[in-house]
């Protein structure tokens, strides 16, 4: 019996495990380590209308149990992604979630419309939460009205379901979730990185050339888990969760918190086999927990502890 398959808007997945956007490129590098067809899905690197060169270096810095990045959406641009990367990915039995970014609403709409037509793109992930670009990005991700409007505009042109990626840098993440739900989102992905900073002890200068960066890795898992727990109880949208996942037990935690699937980001850098290992380990864990399917664990944390009133 299949214990891991899952059905989400636009996505019939072998299992709920996928690499998170920006942490797996377009899959080429990791295809050296294992057959990408074993993955549930792949969230490809943010794609913008035009090529982007990204931010100056250094672009990453390590922190306690985490890392900061300010890559700045470097990508070869929509046309190249379509012609080179997505077509290369067609060789795998692998539904793709295309991460869409931009500076203005029109950019998102343009990219969404075109990329949603690609054969193997089964869903979009609207990146309204990138903390590392000057215009756009985070702005869309912290204002509910703008987020709703952008979602609606993209929904109007997309040929595949649209997931919206939420930023954790907000006072009230449920409010953001409900806003994009109203805008017509088919699902949520969460969380993007927390805005953070590291200074060089000696010089006092920011280690990352951009000044600030996005914090990811195990350090942020408690925050991500809390947000998934909270949001999953106020919306019916399915959630693909991410934030510090680096083991199969972490996946179990996020499903227990209310997520439907899980994405692995930073942990790929530490262990390039991590997605494969998690997929392989999950069935035995389900046996240990005495459940037939991973989805039997969904939301089992709810109503056990009370939902702490963390909102105004």
């Amino acid at each position: 019996m299949d214990k891991l398959n899952i059905s989400l808007p636009g996505l019939e997945l072998k299992n709920p495990i996928m690499p998170a956007s920006g942490c797996f490129g377009f899959g080429r590098e990791y295809s050296q380590f294992y057959d990408l067809s074993i993955l549930g899905s792949i969230m490809i690197k943010a794609t913008t209308a035009e090529q982007r060169l990204g931010n100056p270096v250094p672009r990453v810095a390590e922190t306690s149990s985490g890392m900061l990045n300010a890559i700045g959406l470097q990508n070869p641009g929509l046309e190249k992604v379509l012609s080179t990367e997505l077509s290369w990915l067609e060789q795998f039995d692998l539904p793709v979630i295309a991460n869409v970014a931009g500076s203005m609403m029109e950019d998102y709409v343009l990219v969404a419309e075109k990329i949603s037509k690609a054969k193997n793109v089964n869903a979009l992930e609207l990146n309204i939460s990138c903390p590392n670009v000057k215009e756009g990005g985070i702005a869309f991700g912290t204002d509910p009205l703008t987020a709703k409007e952008l979602t609606a505009k993209v929904k109007a042109v997309s040929e595949v379901p649209v997931y919206v990626k939420l930023s954790p840098n907000v006072s009230n993440i449920s409010e953001m979730a409900l806003a994009v739900e109203e805008g017509g989102a088919d699902g949520l992905t969460m969380i993007n990185t927390l805005v953070g900073m590291r200074l060089d002890h000696k010089t006092g200068k920011p280690v990352i050339a951009n000044g600030t960066g996005g914090l990811s890795g195990p350090a942020i898992k408690p925050v991500a888990l809390r947000m998934v727990y909270e949001v999953s109880q106020v919306t019916d949208l399915p959630i693909i969760a991410m934030g510090g996942i680096s083991s199969a037990w972490d996946v179990i935690d996020f499903i227990s918190a209310g997520a439907s699937a899980a994405a692995v980001g930073t942990a790929n850098f530490v262990n390039p086999f991590i997605c494969k290992e998690i997929i392989e380990e999950l069935p035995a864990i389900l046996d240990e927990l005495g459940v037939d399917h991973i989805h039997d664990l969904k939301g089992r944390s709810w109503n056990v502890g009370k939902v702490a009133n963390t909102r105004a």
Partner: protein, 254 residues
């Protein structure tokens, strides 16, 4: 092929002030294709420090399936690395190294600064084995941090500089090149970025190869952390896969 494996620690010892020599053994060594490649090391099993650390392969022995790394214990990760004794989680070999296609009888100058010195050792050994003359100019902070002088001497002349003048010539590697009027047909350089720029200028007339450093995430080309500015249409290249070794003239210093 890139491997990720637990390698056996054959030996780890401090060979100069805070400079450690680490001998590792495992099948990963079979995959090394050229000097100047590096490995990416998880220094412990906890989440702190989180990221792997890039360290050059200083020399290797395919028959023994062993390789030697030389690193400076400076920050959190490399200090933690000094505590490891049994085995180590190593990913590699990574990147493309120093090309050692050679012309019999020509002279190569190998110029290293500090922890840029280690990868030049295997490079020099292979050049020498292929019939080149090798000259070494190695720069260090001070007398206490000088290492591998005798190892390099077995291969060819060695000029040492120290920033504080406590050993060899006082000053930078470029000062020694001038002082001793060192000429060559090709150069190989690895060290701090300002040194690399200066060396490139100094050896304007001959071909050369430069090993670059950058902060890394994945180490395999996926995360785009480790880019450096290059001349040409791409503007950026990745140190981890396009490098760490670049051809003279490729890099934009600034």
């Amino acid at each position: 092929m890139i491997k990720v494996e637990k390698m056996k620690i054959l030996q780890q010892k401090e060979i100069a002030g805070n400079i450690f020599e680490l001998k590792l053994q495992g099948p990963l060594v079979n995959e090394i294709s050229m000097p100047g490649q590096f490995v990416h090391i998880k220094v412990n099993t906890a989440n702190d420090p989180l990221l792997r650390r890039p360290i050059s392969i200083s020399s290797y022995d395919k028959k023994q399936q062993s390789m030697t790394l030389i690193y400076r214990a400076s920050g959190l990760g490399t200090r933690e690395l000094t505590n490891q004794a049994d085995e180590l989680d190593v990913m590699g070999p990574l990147g493309s190294g120093f090309p050692v296609e050679t012309v019999q009888g020509q002279t190569a100058v190998l110029i290293g600064g500090g922890i840029g010195v280690p990868p030049l050792y295997e490079c020099s050994k292979q050049l020498k084995a292929r019939g080149m003359n090798v000259v070494h100019v190695l720069g260090f902070e001070s007398k206490e941090t000088v290492f591998y002088e005798s190892e390099f001497k077995e291969l060819g002349p060695v000029y040492i500089t120290t920033a504080d003048g406590s050993y060899g010539t006082k000053g930078f590697v470029t000062d020694a090149v001038t002082a001793f009027n060192i000429n060559a047909d090709v150069f190989y350089a690895c060290g701090p970025v300002p040194m690399l720029g200066a060396v490139e200028k100094q050896f304007d007339g001959i071909p050369g190869y430069i090993s670059m450093e950058q902060r890394m995430g994945c180490g395999i080309g996926a995360c785009l952390a480790c880019v450096c500015s290059v001349n040409g249409p791409e503007l950026y290249k990745k140190v981890c896969t396009d490098g760490p070794v670049f051809r003279k003239g490729e890099l934009v210093y600034g």
